[in-house]
């Protein structure tokens, strides 16, 4: 419990900052909605000239663009990207910071097993990401509702919010695995940004590719807002893939972390 508390405390400020970033990002996007809504026709015409790939990458679907939730899908793309960076940062940092700050010798000679340490770190991370998701979702929910008093579909919105959370956990799990496998990570940000943008780049390929198979390669494509809005559910095969990635990454991290040599610095 003490490690859990300590981890929460140490990462709380960063989490708060990320919540602020995500909320402002969402709010700024949504602030443009009334303006765009006023000239929706001209705007949709303009969008028709956009290359389809670009629209797909940005989550713009012309049919639903005029509704708040449809417009939000567009904002959601960027919020997801930020959320992915937050989660990846947390994942890469949570274990590797011990070797970087030379605290591994302290923590790992205490009467707590390595599994226990990872349990605590994992639990703290999930809680922090959970808080991020809840605060952000409630905040955005209020904004979205204010735009659409009659046609706000709570279920679909909740599905999008949950998708955001699952996506964050996927990125967290990948980050964790990378940091556990790496001998030493000198700085978190370059590593996490590198992985996130790499996966985002694959995302760009995936939407332009004729086959759907490429979408499996990047978590960014697992939860398409337009699909959720249209069908009120997730695409099961991608959801399962996502969950599998989480399970595999976390299990592998446990196995590796238990037998890893902790080198002196």
């Amino acid at each position: 419990m003490n490690v859990f508390r300590q981890e929460c405390k140490m990462n709380f400020r960063t989490t708060l900052l990320w919540i602020l970033v995500l909320c402002s990002l969402g709010a700024v996007f949504m602030a443009f909605f009334p303006i765009i809504q006023r000239d929706m026709k001209t705007f949709l015409k303009l969008l028709d000239n956009f290359p389809p790939a670009m629209k797909a990458l940005m989550g713009i679907v012309t049919e639903s663009f005029s509704t708040p939730l449809g417009y939000y899908s567009f904002a959601f793309t960027f919020v997801t990207l930020s959320g992915a960076i937050q989660a990846m940062n947390l994942g890469v940092g949570i274990v590797s910071k011990e070797t970087r700050d030379k605290t591994a010798d302290f923590l790992m000679t205490k009467p707590i097993s390595r599994t226990g340490i990872l349990h605590a770190k994992l639990a703290a991370s999930v809680v922090l990401l959970g808080i991020t998701g809840i605060v952000y979702s409630v905040f955005m929910g209020i904004i979205l509702r204010s735009y659409s008093v009659s046609d706000f579909d709570l279920k679909k919105y909740a599905l999008e919010c949950l998708a955001f959370f699952i996506l964050q956990i996927i990125f967290f799990a990948i980050g964790l695995l990378v940091s556990v496998f790496a001998r030493k990570i000198k700085a978190v940000l370059p590593v996490s940004l590198g992985i996130v943008f790499f996966l985002y780049a694959i995302s760009a390929f995936a939407v332009t590719s004729a086959s759907d198979k490429l979408r499996f390669l990047t978590p960014f494509q697992y939860f398409k807002p337009d699909y959720i809005i249209k069908n009120g559910q997730y695409e099961i095969s991608y959801l399962v893939t996502g969950l599998c990635i989480i399970i595999i990454c976390v299990l592998a991290s446990y196995i590796w972390f238990r037998r890893k040599d902790v080198h002196s610095v």
Binding site: N2, Q6, M10, D101, K102, T103, A104, D105, F106, M108, T109, K110, P111, I112, S113, G116, R259, D261, V262, H263, S264, V265
Partner: protein
């Protein structure tokens, strides 16, 4: 007496490069055991394996009769460790870290923390990152002792402490030892180990080359002597038993001497000298001229 630490043929390779090979020695309950060797000889590797920070390639070690690796968390309850490099969590105050450290042990450590901080003159309200190296080290010492461990493991403990603090530190160790704690400390300074330890293991190139009682080591104390004489003496003046690494530079004779210091003093007294320097040779020198033959 029971052995607190038993190390049996412990071997560790980092990939292909050597860490330690076939290290075996025991540390008896209640003794202060010194572990000395030049830098890079394998002291830290041995200690880190004992603490289950790294895993042995082969061989085994046990503490309190339990396997070091399998029972690491159980053993850790009764072990205090001071790493050679001190750590800090960002933005943490000294007392925060000490309380965090104490929270791992199911006992009240408040009194001991106060006592130790007082003795070491440590300000608990400062942020650790703002402390000097020596003060950080003190945080490490308090952190390692606050739960009154039965075994204290120290990796180069005096590195970065000023001589006055070193004195306090050694007193602290001796008090802990009187309380019943077994101490294992590594060092690359022979003199330091000689002051407090009852036995030493000497490690070189990953192998234990000697296990000695400190009393034996003290009989053979090592001195680096440099003597400037008034007149030029025959070259073999100092070619006597116990002298090695003799260098003659005009009227200056320098060498390492091991043996009865009285014999040497008598020898010097018979000469007309201008100047005399006596130093502790460092471990490397001793190894080079004495122990290298025994490997």
């Amino acid at each position: 007496m029971q052995n607190t630490i038993k190390i049996h043929n412990l071997t560790k390779f980092y990939g292909k490069s050597r860490g330690i090979t076939d290290v075996s020695f025991d540390v008896e309950e209640g003794e202060i055991f010194g572990f000395i060797g030049p830098n890079g000889a394998g002291k830290s590797t041995t200690i880190r394996t004992l603490l289950a920070l790294i895993y042995p390639t082969s061989g085994s070690a046990s503490i309190f009769g339990m396997d070091c690796i399998k029972n690491a968390p159980e053993i850790a309850k009764r072990v205090g460790y001071l790493p050679s490099e001190v750590f800090y969590y960002d933005g943490m105050k000294v007392k925060d870290l000490l309380n965090y450290s104490a929270s791992f042990y199911k006992k009240d450590c408040k009194k001991k923390i106060q006592e130790l901080a007082g003795r070491l003159d440590l300000d608990m309200n400062r942020k650790i990152e703002d402390l000097s190296f020596g003060n950080k080290k003190k945080v490490g010492i308090v952190q390692g002792l606050l739960h009154s461990p039965d075994l204290i493991i120290l990796d180069e403990p005096t590195l970065g402490l000023d001589p006055l603090m070193q004195q306090t530190f050694f007193e602290l160790m001796q008090d802990e030892n009187k309380r019943g704690a077994t101490v294992l400390m590594s060092s690359h300074i022979l003199n330091e180990v000689q002051r407090v330890c009852s036995r030493v293991a000497i490690i070189k190139d990953g192998k234990i080359i000697k296990l000695e009682k400190i009393s034996t080591l003290q009989e053979t104390s090592y001195k680096r002597l440099k003597i400037e004489t008034h007149d030029k003496l025959p070259d073999d003046t100092f070619r006597i038993d116990g002298v090695s690494d003799l260098k003659i530079d005009g009227k200056i004779y320098s060498f390492i001497y091991s043996g009865d210091i009285n014999t040497m003093v008598a020898k010097i007294a018979s000469l007309r000298i201008v100047n005399l320097w006596a130093d502790e040779p460092d471990l490397e020198e001793i190894f080079l001229h004495y122990y290298s033959k025994e490997v």
